[in-house]
Symmetry: C2
Subunit: 370 residues, 2 copies
């Protein structure tokens, strides 16, 4: 197709890719709804009832823009994390924060390092600003801090991406390993650690926050353990200079009033988080049991999802994802080999997992026949 | 300050400017709250009660990401506007849409044309992507379509910005004038018409939507007449190619579930919009009366705010904005001469305007003494 003269050369060259197709789009294509929505790592246990109430109250005031400084939420996070307010940035989910981060650090040709098969939305933003992505393989279903650092040195990367715990495999590294990675970040590079699933992980997964450390920016979210994916609230913790840079490009009134109120109430309800963690852990165990009953192996997980090794290649896993969709179960799977031998199942409610247990044997049998 | 080696050269060079300081930030600085919040052109009459109810219900489902295609909202807008769904894009307010639009069309050195004193957030995004802004003056407190087109031809602009009705003066052009401007857009340029306030304007302000016209993209919002500034939902109407380009860079899951549900319900409640329009028109008349009682002249307005000419220069208007803040009234004012002889007062509730009427004489007297 001829270039559109209204667009920048880079915009013309960008592919029309979408990192994830949403479940609603799949439902519209199928002409019916999913019975069990277990593909987007949403927290089926929902947000704190106090957060729901805060959002319902805030809906009445939604004629007002949200506070452009998200002051109260940052103050609460500052207390909670023990980090000064000026080192905390609120963004429109980690996706929105990654967009701004890549915009600030990557231009045409900038080398960036990530793991092959890690978060595709990060890759989407890197491509979106013209960066050149260098990927290193997972090692034993884990992102590999050492190889990431070696590759970053080799290519002179400006930005290095790591998720801990990891998506899509659910694996994790301990704090000492991550701290060592931070200590080895090459001069002039920045390590972004996506900690979207941290609240589900064992204690000792994350090294201490150090907002004076200019080698790393950490990102967390209210979308996962806090059960607020549809409210779009994430936050970054970084050094003062890096956070100040975000303020030069961010949409200052972009964090809505209802979202801020909900996140503030969700953060305060520690009991609910304990409840969600327990429900999630129980669901992980149950998913592993369902997998085992079908001769499949669940990987250990520090997240709210379980990667289930289907014991063959990507073709079988892809067929199983399709067959499960036929049976009303929405799941996703890793995009690249060898991780794509697995399907990724989000922790569901009891009813969700009853349904999964019921349909998995048939779906698996059909997938194997294909 | 030395450049930060982690940032792009452009990010390093960007100034640390913020287009607008929010009222909450001002309140924190003052140590007390405003009595009348009349500075951000929010709709004090609120959203439809049906939208509030829809948002409260959606809060319970906020553990789910919003539909990444905003299908139902686009379908409803398609019906409402008589425009195919593929020509409608949902964004995080017009601010978010402008960010993406500038990203797609502007790169280092790209010429862009706007009016001197028009929407500063547009200018912020242009600077944010390295564009070079060319400004033409207002003519008689109106943005000047002819001069904008002449300047665009002169500098070879890629992007031209016009708001109709206009912010910050509240003036407007009729549909024929705007259609003529569209017809004169130079080849390869794109006119963005910001119609944030259109629902307040007289019939015949906007030319018909023509999604086959590649010379123009129109932007509208649920932030103003629909009373949902804090939900961040705007939309763009453009040709298929331009809308497709947005999908290459947008945050696909960026429009939250509560926001989509609220906008859908708000759009359906036409009676509420009629009510808000009537309340707004009455408030405009009352503000004009309050101005007149103080010897000031209100400009005619097709928006939910009134520019009040203070009869002197920017110094008096700036002093008056400060003095009104002292008396608990939040208002803003145009940034540049000669429009900065005015202050800009958002249509308030009866109580808001009672308070304004009470404190304006004193504030004006103090401002004149300064």
């Amino acid at each position: 197709m001829a270039d559109d003269p209204r667009l920048t050369p880079h915009a013309n060259a960008l592919p029309a890719t979408v990192p994830f197709v949403g479940p609603e789009a799949q439902e519209r294509a199928m002409g019916r709804g999913f019975v069990a929505r277990l593909g987007a790592n949403e927290s089926v246990f929902g947000p704190s009832p106090k957060a729901i109430e805060a959002m319902a109250q805030a809906a009445k005031e939604v004629w007002q823009y949200g506070d452009s400084q998200s002051h109260d939420l940052r103050a609460a996070l500052s207390d909670h994390l023990g980090v000064p307010m000026q080192n905390i940035l609120i963004g429109s989910g980690i996706d929105g924060l990654l967009n701004s981060l890549v915009r600030l650090t990557v231009t045409q040709g900038t080398p960036v390092v990530t793991s092959k098969g890690a978060y595709p939305t990060f890759n989407y933003h890197v491509a979106g600003y013209g960066g050149v992505l260098h990927e290193v393989p997972f090692t034993g279903d884990h992102e590999d801090p050492e190889r990431l650092i070696v590759k970053a040195r080799e290519v002179g990367a400006r930005l290095i991406y790591l998720s801990n715990p990891d998506n899509p495999m659910g694996t994790w590294h301990d704090a000492a390993t991550i701290q060592q990675m931070i200590d080895n970040v090459p001069d002039g590079a920045l390590l972004v650690i996506d900690e979207a699933y941290l609240e589900f992980a064992p204690d000792g997964t994350a090294p201490p926050l150090d907002p004076t450390d200019r080698r790393v920016i950490r990102m967390r979210t209210f979308s996962k353990a806090y059960g607020m994916a549809g409210a779009r609230v994430g936050y970054a913790i970084g050094d003062t200079g890096m956070i100040a840079a975000f303020h030069k490009v961010r949409d200052h009134f972009g964090i809505g009033r209802i979202s801020q109120a909900g996140a503030l109430a969700a953060l305060a309800d520690r009991d609910w988080l304990v409840h969600v963690r327990a429900e999630t852990a129980a669901a992980r165990t149950r998913i592993a049991g369902i997998a085992e009953a079908n001769g499949l192996a669940a990987l250990p997980s520090a997240t709210n999802f379980v990667a289930v090794d289907c014991g063959a290649d990507g073709a079988l896993a892809r067929a199983l994802v399709r067959e499960l969709a036929e049976d009303g179960v929405f799941v996703r799977m890793p995009f690249v080999a060898p991780q794509d031998r697995a399907i990724r199942i989000t922790c569901g409610t009891g009813a969700d997992l009853d349904h999964l247990a019921r349909v998995l044997p048939g779906a698996l049998a059909r997938a194997r026949r294909l």
